[in-house]
Symmetry: C2
Subunit: 405 residues, 2 copies
Amino acid sequence: MASTAAVPQANGSAHPVASLDSSLLTITHAETLKPLPAPGYAFGDVKTDHMLVMEYDPLSGWSAPEIKPYGPLPLDPSSNCLQYCSNVFEGMKAFLGPDGKLHLFRPDRNMQRLVVSAARMGLPTFDPDELLRCIKKLVAVEERWVPTEAGHSLYIRPTMIGTKPSIKVGPSNHAMLYALVLPVGPYFATASPTDAGVSLLAVGENVRSWPGGTGGFKMGLNYSPGFVPQQRAAKLGYDQVLWLLGDEQKVTEAGAMNFFAAIEREDGGILVVTPPLDGTILPGITRDSALALLRAHAAAPSSGILALPPTLALHVEERALGVPELARAGRAGRLLECFGTGTAVLVVAIERIGDVVDPTMQTIEDIEMKGGLKGLGPVGRALYHKLSAVKEGREQFDGWSVLCE
Amino acid sequence: MASTAAVPQANGSAHPVASLDSSLLTITHAETLKPLPAPGYAFGDVKTDHMLVMEYDPLSGWSAPEIKPYGPLPLDPSSNCLQYCSNVFEGMKAFLGPDGKLHLFRPDRNMQRLVVSAARMGLPTFDPDELLRCIKKLVAVEERWVPTEAGHSLYIRPTMIGTKPSIKVGPSNHAMLYALVLPVGPYFATASPTDAGVSLLAVGENVRSWPGGTGGFKMGLNYSPGFVPQQRAAKLGYDQVLWLLGDEQKVTEAGAMNFFAAIEREDGGILVVTPPLDGTILPGITRDSALALLRAHAAAPSSGILALPPTLALHVEERALGVPELARAGRAGRLLECFGTGTAVLVVAIERIGDVVDPTMQTIEDIEMKGGLKGLGPVGRALYHKLSAVKEGREQFDGWSVLCE
C-alpha cells in the first residue's frame, strides 16, 4: 500500500498525509526480557516485553509503526485524552493451536469496530487491515508469553487516545494508537468456567448507557462510571452489576459482558434471548459469534454444531428483555440459565440475579436458575466448548479462526 | 496539618497513609522561561512554565506536592485513565485586581466539586483546603502570565487521573493530581462578550447525559461524546449544541455551559429560568453565582446589586425547560434573551437556537430573541458586569473574591 494517500481524515483535512502503513513497521527488541510469571496471576496486571505504537499528526499523518520495549508514554498533561477522555479500545485474544501456530479469533471485527469507535470520537481513522498486520507481528514477537495453563490466554489490547495538547473542548486531531499484550488468568476467580459462575445485582439507579449515548461503541468512558456502583454491588455480595435502563428495567449489559438468558418454553423448546443492538449495548464479537452458532444449530439441530440434543428446539431472539420477565421465569421454574459473553470471559454462568424489589435497597430478592443450577447450563456450556475450540484453533467455523502470520 | 492520618480512603484501606499536605510543597523553577505570547491566542493552547503535580499510591498515600517545569507526564500505557477514563477536572480563573493582588473566584467550590467528582469516580480523595493552598502557590509562581488584555485571563485546570497500571475493569487506587495554568483568550471568537453571542443547534438524537448518568459531575468523559455532534452542528452553521433530553426536549446544557432564558411575563415582569440540578447538568459555579445574584436582586430590586431598573420585577426559577416552551415564547415575541454561563465564558449571549422541526434534519427553524437581539440583553449584561467586577476583585459579593495568597 502506498505510504501517502489523500485519505479523507476525521479532522476534515484534504491535505494528503501518510496512511497507516504496516510495511514501515520497525522492531526494537528489549535488551532484557522479563521472566515469565508463575500461573495464578490476575487478569490485567502483567504486561509483556514490547508494545506497538504509532502516532497521528494532522500535518504528516500516521508515523511508521514501531514495536518497541514496553514503557511509559510521555503525554502532555493538557492532552485531549486526559482532559476529555477521547479514548477507544479493543480486546482480543491469541491462542497457540494444536498446529503449533498462533491463532486470532475474528480479528477483522475488532479492527472494524476500532475504526467505528475512533470515528465516533472524532479521532483520525486508519486502514484496519494495516493495523491488523502490525498487531500480528507484535503477537509473533511476544509468542513466548502465550500461556499454556488452563484458563489462561494471551490478551491483546489495542488502544487509541487523543493527544492534542490543548484544553479546548473539541476533537483531537493528534492521536496515539498502541497495542499492549498481556498474559491473563481467568477474569473471574471461579473454580472453573463451566462449573462455577458469577452473581449479578440488577441496578437501575445508575445507568450504563442510554438512547443517543455511546453505549454501542467501545469507548473507555463507558466503563469508569460503573466502578462505584460495582463496588456497592460487591458490598452487597454480588460479583457484578446487571445494568438496567428505564422503567421497564430493560437489561443492557452485565458488568462488561453481553447478557443472554435461556428460558424454557411451554412447548418444551428453549428460548435463548439477548438484548438487541439498539445503541445502548456493545456489539460484542463473542455475542455475535454466540448468536451465529445458536442460529446455525437452531436451523440444523442434528448438524452437531453445538453439543446439544438434536431433539432440543432452540429459538433465538434478539429483543428487549426486562428484569420482570426474568423474575417471572425464575418464579415459574422456567429460567434454565443465564450467561454473559465477552472476549475476556468467553462465556460465564450467571448463577443468580439480585432484584432490588425495594428501592431503598433494603430488600433484594434473588432470581435463581431452575434447580439452583451452578455453573453453565447446557446452552452456555455448548457455546463455551464450541467457541473455545474455534478460538484455540482446534476447530474452524465460518473462517473465524485466523492464523497470526 | 499532620502529614499522616488514617483518613478513610476511596480504596477502602484503613492503612494510615500520607494525606495531601501543602506544607510539603517543593518548587523547582524552570531554567528557561517561555516568552509571553502576543495577545490573540486561542483558548486552551498556551501553557505556562510550571505545573503542580502530586501522586497517590495506595501504600504510601499522597506524595509531597511539587511545582516543577511544565512537561510530559510519563504514563503507563495500561493506566486506568487511558483505558477506562477515570479522569476528573476543574476550571478556575485568576485575575489581577486593582489592588495589584491576584484574586480567585469561589475557589472552595471548585475544590469541593473536585473531591465529589473523584469520589464518584472511585479515585482517592483529599483535603480540598490543602489542594487550594498548593494551587495558590502555583498561580503566584506564574503571576507574570496573568494577561492584562480585555477578554483575556489566567485559567487554572486542576486535573485528576487514575494511574493504576492494569487493564482490569475497576477503580484506580493509584492517581495523579495535577494543575495546569493557561493564559486564555476569549472562548468564543465573538466581537465582544457583551455585543455578540453564539448560536446553538438543539440536538436530541445525541444525548449528553441521562438520569442515573454522570452529567452532574465534572468528568472528562462527559465531553468527548459531544465532539462529533458539535462538528455536525458547526457544518449546519451553529456554534454549539443545545443538549436535549427526552420526548419533552428538556434542555440540559448548552455546549459546555449552563443555560438560562429570560422570558417576558404577562404582568411585565421577567422570568429567568434555568434547568434544575437533577443530576443531568453540571452544578456550575457561575450558574450558582448567577442565580444568587438574580435572587438577591429580585429580593431587593433597588439594592443596585445588578444594574437593572429597580422597577423591573425579576422572577427566578430552577425548573425543567423544554425547547417547545422556548419556541412558543420566541413566536410570541416574549423570549427576551438566552445566555450560557461557565468559568471559561463567564456569561455569553445565545442569539438563536436552531430547532430541528423535521427529524431528518432537513428543516430547522430558528428560535430568535425579541427584536432580533444581538449580544447580551439586560439580564445577561447585568450579570456579566457584576460577575466580572467580583471576579476581577473590583467588587466583593458574599466573600466570593478570594485573595490568592
